[in-house]
């Protein structure tokens, strides 16, 4: 079954897809930005500062989602020795880190008018910072280790250790008294967010997801060409 995940199958798609994904991303982002900055209402408590949510929340969601995907790919790749899974995971990491940084920085900007401080060593914020450190360690490991078996092992260990932090991020607002507000959107129960704010939030999430897909495709193609370069050296 795993032969269908081979790069030869995937490359024919990944080499053509970026231009279509870029077009779709620009369209969805334009709709999202119009909704987020102009059409959506201001909050009765936070006024216009609530608009920061439309970049902060999707960035946090996607950085967490990408880390989960990287961990899954690394574990499955390590167990079943599917080297292409490591290549996919490696190509996902740069956008995951950038989304994590965006979540931290925009959260800090949002914190100033809302809490009166740029930074607090609060459980949610600190655990997100720890996630960024795991992303950095993961990317640095790929640069440091040249031996494939070693880099697969090290990156898998980093993701397994990092994944422990993910439920801490998710439930930190419930487990501890934090400055951070609890989740407004719940899949299993009724969300407390109004549809007029939910729509721009979901549109921006879709735009951010498309951007991470675009970066993944470009990075994956780059990695495949790198492999082809090594192949030419051996001719």
């Amino acid at each position: 079954m795993f032969k269908y995940f081979g790069p030869n199958k995937i490359f024919s798609i990944t080499s053509k897809a970026p231009k279509y994904v870029l077009f779709l991303f620009i369209v969805i982002l334009s709709i999202g930005l119009t909704e987020a900055l102009i059409l959506s209402p201001e909050d009765y408590k936070q006024s216009h500062s609530v608009r920061i949510m439309y970049v902060h929340v999707p960035a946090a969601w996607i950085s967490l989602g990408i880390f989960l995907a990287i961990t899954f790919l690394s574990i499955i790749g390590y167990i079943f020795k599917i080297r292409n899974f490591f290549l996919i995971a490696k190509s996902l990491a740069p956008s995951g880190l950038v989304f994590n940084i965006i979540a931290l920085v925009t959260g800090s900007i949002w914190g100033k008018p809302t809490w009166g401080t740029w930074w607090a060593w609060d459980a949610r914020i600190t655990s997100m910072l720890i996630l960024a450190l795991f992303y950095i360690m993961y990317l640095v490991a790929w640069r440091i280790f040249e031996d494939n078996d070693k880099v697969f092992k090290v990156t898998s260990i980093i993701t397994i250790l990092g994944i422990i932090n993910v439920p801490i991020i998710k439930y930190s607002v419930d487990w501890w008294n934090t400055l951070h507000q609890p989740a407004s959107i719940n899949i299993l129960s009724k969300s407390s967010i109004h549809i007029s704010m939910l729509f721009p939030l979901m549109t921006m999430t879709a735009a951010f997801a498309l951007f991470s897909l675009l970066i993944f495709l470009m990075k994956y193609n780059t990695e495949l060409i790198k492999i082809k370069n090594k192949g030419l050296d051996r001719l």
Partner: protein, 75 residues
């Protein structure tokens, strides 16, 4: 309306900085990855161009899919 869009009841600076930081990060990451892609592509073209006729013919005889498949074992 335009004034309200910029100042947002005094929150404009925070909102616009958050959105600007996000978009600048997107653009930077996109450009970095694009530069890396072009660099590798140019390296590939240069290497391919430097092959002698026999090796170039051999490399050309392989489909891109076969080439990737044969190289993936060395990731």
């Amino acid at each position: 309306m335009i004034e309200n869009l910029f100042f947002m009841n005094g929150y404009g600076l925070y909102v616009w900085s958050a959105f600007s930081f996000t978009l600048v990060s997107f653009l930077t990451l996109f450009l970095v990855i694009k530069i890396q892609y072009k660099k590798e592509k140019n390296k590939f073209l240069a290497k391919f161009g430097s092959l002698d006729s026999e090796r170039a013919a051999f490399a050309k005889s392989q489909s891109i899919n076969k080439e990737i498949l044969s190289n993936i074992s060395n990731i």
